[in-house]
């Protein structure tokens, strides 16, 4: 009846996950009870869960990412403590638990923190920057989000029901094959990634189509803000790379469920093929994450320097070059497998070639600052911090692309330090910069500067205190994923890294406090202009938060160099010019499709993991039925009447006109 599921799946003998799970469960229940008791449930359902508004979905993506950041961060803290104490001893985490933790940490941080964070920001901002009312496929957008959330839910479920993979975040066979990982851990891993992967693919298709086909009048390609360009590049990579992940995991699952022989030791399976395919996805994935961050930094640096972005065309060229070349470098993840000198050298050189456009980007930001009037508000701090940090990451990255150097450093703590250097220093700093920068746009009030800056400094120094020791440990021959070790020389560095982790944690706490403080002081921090930073692109041309239809009139973009002109003209247009006739606006109707679909996906994923076949069929039928019902509906749009548009817009315009005339007198 319940497949492999029975009481032994609950880890009663392991206090840490059980307590953690209980705490999370109680928290969720408490929130639910509060929501129901306060009568917020209808609001939540109508305004958020079933919403197809790209801004709301963007916010939900970021919320998911933030919650999962805390989960992944807790894993990181546990790992750093374990390695600090487990010198010539077993530490406090037994191997089967420690191995789950580092696997979950990697999986969560990449798939459920970094990905949703950047996708959330893109969702929130790109339609606004393009001057349009929504993304190309609003309902699918909601489906994509909820499927990502399903994946996250399944990963967290593994904490209390069963176990998570003990194979590392990429589940290399044959260790991940049934014979060496007979538990459900790898199944949790694979199914949650398959389900959230569908969500990511949907988001990618959606955003590519949005950028290419939905631009407001006059928004030629070379007038798009840089963030739109990096969004395009990043989502093209999603569309091209995620199917590879889907196929690879499908092969692994076929091996595990139906006795196929793609990657097994037996019957001619080839484990190297998994390495090859997973990295053919894995390397573009890195650029999927970091390209949007590059876009955010471009926006932030130019805004806070009071200048247009330096070398815009170079930036576009560099972005698209990275997009294409990132598909030609994946072998550098397994130089040490022995593919021979020609293959190694060619892929090594191709990997270095990516450093050229990336370097160009750094210099362009540098010269954007040159001759600017730089305001060091929190987003700008993150950006300058990123530039310094990321260069170090780039240096070690190019170093690892030199095969003979990689022969010594592959899989070492040096490598761990390197990719945290680029993922934290690049993606996470970028996500935080974007968060601080666009928060007022999403919610209508700014974030507290003092706590934000404190958060930055703690994170910045915490990062270096944590990861410079790991670089050194790598140079001392320490390899990754050690549950314990007996080498005295490594010990001091692990202790320093644990201290750094504590500093990093303070940084995260500062940001949580910042959020709380800002919400409490929201009236004082209110942004009435819609343009708190003196921004340069169209998202600042509407109110904060924007009305559901974003723009009462689709802006008409003129002028060759988009940024400042667009804003100037857009502002004047919306503030000064006499408004033409207001017209009815059609907006997509809210739909529970995404949520219902995710419900069945969760059911199906869970059933597949535990081999509960009747439930699999139920989930599959349910998902299909959901789509049929969705396809059958007659009215997928509703109309906001012209009077209502006018009423909303006039209030905004009045408010801003007052502010602008005040600003003019200063």
């Amino acid at each position: 009846m319940l497949g492999k599921l029975d009481w032994s799946a609950i880890p009663f003998d392991q206090p840490i996950p059980l307590i953690a799970g209980a705490v999370v469960l109680i928290a969720i229940l408490a929130v639910l009870i509060w929501v129901v008791a306060k009568g917020h449930l209808p609001y939540l359902w109508h305004e958020w869960i079933t919403s197809v508004d790209h801004k709301r979905i963007g916010v939900m993506y970021i919320l998911l990412a933030s919650v999962m950041l805390l989960r992944g961060g807790s894993d990181a803290i546990m790992m750093r403590i374990q390695q600090a104490v487990a010198y010539q001893s077993q530490g406090y985490l037994p191997p089967e638990h420690y191995n789950q933790i580092f696997s979950a940490h990697g999986t969560i941080m990449i798939f459920f923190v970094a990905m949703p964070f950047v996708i959330g920001l893109m969702n929130l901002v790109v339609p606004l920057q393009l001057g349009v009312r929504d993304v190309a496929f609003p309902t699918l957008n909601s489906v994509g989000f909820w499927l990502t959330a399903t994946g996250a839910l399944l990963v967290n479920l593994s904490l209390v029901i069963g176990e998570f993979a003990r194979t590392g975040w990429l589940a290399f066979p044959p260790l991940s094959e049934l014979s060496y990982s007979p538990g459900v851990g790898v199944d949790y891993y694979a199914w949650s990634l398959q389900i959230s992967g569908v969500g990511t693919l949907v988001a990618g298709i959606n955003l590519v189509t949005t950028v290419l086909k939905l631009r407001t009048k006059g928004m030629n390609y070379l007038r798009m803000p840089m963030f739109c360009w990096t969004t395009l590049a990043s989502n093209l990579l999603i569309v091209a790379a995620f199917p590879i992940l889907t196929a690879t995991l499908a092969m692994l699952l076929l091996d595990r469920y139906l006795g196929f022989h793609f990657f097994t030791n037996e019957a001619g399976g080839n484990v190297m093929m998994f390495m090859n395919l997973i990295w053919a996805w894995g390397h573009p994935e890195v650029y999927i994450l970091v390209l949007p961050a590059f876009g955010i930094f471009s926006e932030v640096v130019s805004t806070f320097s009071g200048k247009a972005l330096f070398g815009y065309r170079s930036m576009v060229l560099a972005t698209m070059a990275i997009c294409v070349v990132s598909f030609m470098v994946w072998l550098h993840h397994f130089f040490t497998m022995g593919a021979g000198p020609d293959v190694n050298a060619i892929f090594g050189i191709a990997s270095m070639i990516i450093a050229i456009p990336t370097g160009v980007k750094i210099y362009n930001w540098l010269f954007t600052m040159y001759g600017g009037r730089i305001r060091f508000e929190t987003p700008m701090l993150w950006s300058v911090g990123f530039m310094v940090t990321f260069i170090v990451g780039g240096l070690t990255g190019v170093l690892l692309a030199v095969p003979p150097a990689d022969f010594m450093l592959h899989n070492s703590m040096f490598l761990v330090a390197h990719f945290h250097n680029v993922i934290i220093g690049g993606v996470l700093f970028g996500a935080f910069a974007g968060f601080e920068y666009w928060f007022p746009k999403a919610f209508g009030f700014r974030l507290d500067e003092r706590w934000g800056k404190a958060g930055f400094w703690f994170t910045f120094f915490g990062f270096f205190i944590t990861f410079v020791p790991l670089y050194i440990a790598g140079m001392l021959g320490m390899t990754r994923r050690m549950q314990h070790y007996d080498v005295a020389a490594w010990r001091p560095w692990m202790i320093v890294a644990a201290v750094g982790m504590a500093v990093l944690t303070i940084g995260v706490i500062c940001q949580i406090v910042q959020l709380v403080v800002s919400i409490r002081n929201r009236e004082a921090l209110r942004d009435r202009t819609g343009d708190p930073w003196d921004g340069r692109s169209l998202e600042w041309a509407t109110s904060s938060p924007p009305p559901v239809f974003n723009f009462a009139f689709n802006p008409d973009v003129r002028g060759e160099d988009a940024y400042w002109d667009i804003k100037a003209s857009a502002k004047q247009q919306s503030v000064d010019a006499d408004r033409p006739e207001y017209q009815d606006i059609e907006m997509p109707r809210n739909s529970p499709t995404g949520f219902v679909c995710a419900f069945f996906a969760t059911l199906m994923g869970f059933a597949l993991i535990w081999h509960i076949w009747w439930m699999v069929i139920l989930g599959g039928l349910g998902a299909w039925a959901t789509f049929v019902v969705f396809a059958w509906r007659d009215h997928d749009e509703y109309v906001i009447p012209a009077e209502e548009v006018a009423a909303i817009d006039r209030v905004n315009v009045e408010e801003r006109r007052g502010l602008v005339s005040m600003a003019g007198t200063v």
Binding site: G162, P174, M272, G311, Y363, G371, P404, G477, Q483
Partner: protein
């Protein structure tokens, strides 16, 4: 285990390339970081002496330079990478004094088996080699992937079941080194460290002779016992019954190692956990 303290020619070349590459890049990275901080500081909004130049958004000259700097660096490093990958290919010969020593390494769950087919001996978790001689490694795995790595001798390489990878090394100085597995392979992975004893070429035959006197014999049956999952705390040595044992493993005539016992099929498995402790 310091990578910058190489004990053989391969590691020496690797670490020299490593250090060279870092310095080549530092030549541009340091000025760039300095420029970032300097520009950020000088052009702060509160500095009245900084000239505001909002029109400075394009300069053909700067763009040329900006593309040229990373491009030239990459050409230089690319050259190093090309030559380096050919000369330091793991399978490339590393000439040494005296006869080369053939060593067949098998990664087991979770220990290392070193077979000396010509000497007809085998050791577990300890590798004894003569200084100065070329060491020809052939490597495979009894079950899952691992990576064979002696940091101070250089160049790591994967071990995989059903496949044979090749690695040539040389140890120049007598002494004790440590090796490890650099690819996660399961619960006992951290215990896959092994000792490397580099002894004088004169003492090596003696060591072989004394090892060959051991009672323990490594044959197919004993090997199958050895490859069960578990951690080996001792340093057993064996007489090798059949010098073709490695070929039998590599060609899967001896089937791959079994993995954890299936008693714990559902839920968190603890097999190996108690072994590792």
């Amino acid at each position: 285990m310091n990578l910058l303290d190489p004990q053989g020619p391969v590691a020496a070349a690797n670490s020299t390339i490593l250090v060279d590459s870092v310095f080549i890049m530092l030549v541009i990275v340091v000025p760039t970081i300095f420029a970032i901080l300097a520009f950020a500081f000088w052009f702060r909004a509160s500095n009245p002496r900084a000239r505001f130049q909002p029109a400075f958004v394009y300069s053909g000259r700067v763009e040329m330079v900006v593309w040229a700097i990373p491009a030239l660096t990459v050409i230089l490093l690319g050259g190093v990478a090309w030559i380096g990958s050919h000369q330091l290919d793991p399978a490339a010969p590393v000439p040494g004094t005296g006869n080369p020593v053939r060593i067949q390494a098998v990664s087991l769950d979770w220990k290392w088996l070193f077979i000396y087919p010509d000497q007809r001996i085998a050791t577990v978790n300890t590798l004894t080699v003569p200084a100065g001689a070329e060491l020809n490694f052939q490597l495979t795995s009894s079950s899952v992937m691992n990576t064979f790595f002696i940091p101070q001798l250089g160049s790591m390489i994967y071990t995989m079941n059903g496949m044979v990878t090749k690695l040539n090394l040389r140890a120049d100085n007598e002494g004790k080194l440590q090796g490890l597995s650099a690819h996660f392979s399961g619960d006992g992975f951290p215990d896959m460290m092994f000792d490397v004893n580099v002894i004088s070429p004169l003492a090596f035959p003696d060591w072989v002779a004394s090892t060959a006197k051991t009672d323990a014999v490594l044959n197919e049956d004993n090997y199958k016992k050895l490859m069960q999952q578990g951690v080996e705390k001792g340093r057993p040595t064996y007489r090798l019954e059949d010098p073709r044992l490695f070929d039998l493993i590599a060609t899967q005539h001896i089937p791959p190692g079994p993995g954890p016992e299936l008693a714990s099929e559902a839920g968190p498995t603890h097999s190996g956990g108690h072994d590792a402790r």
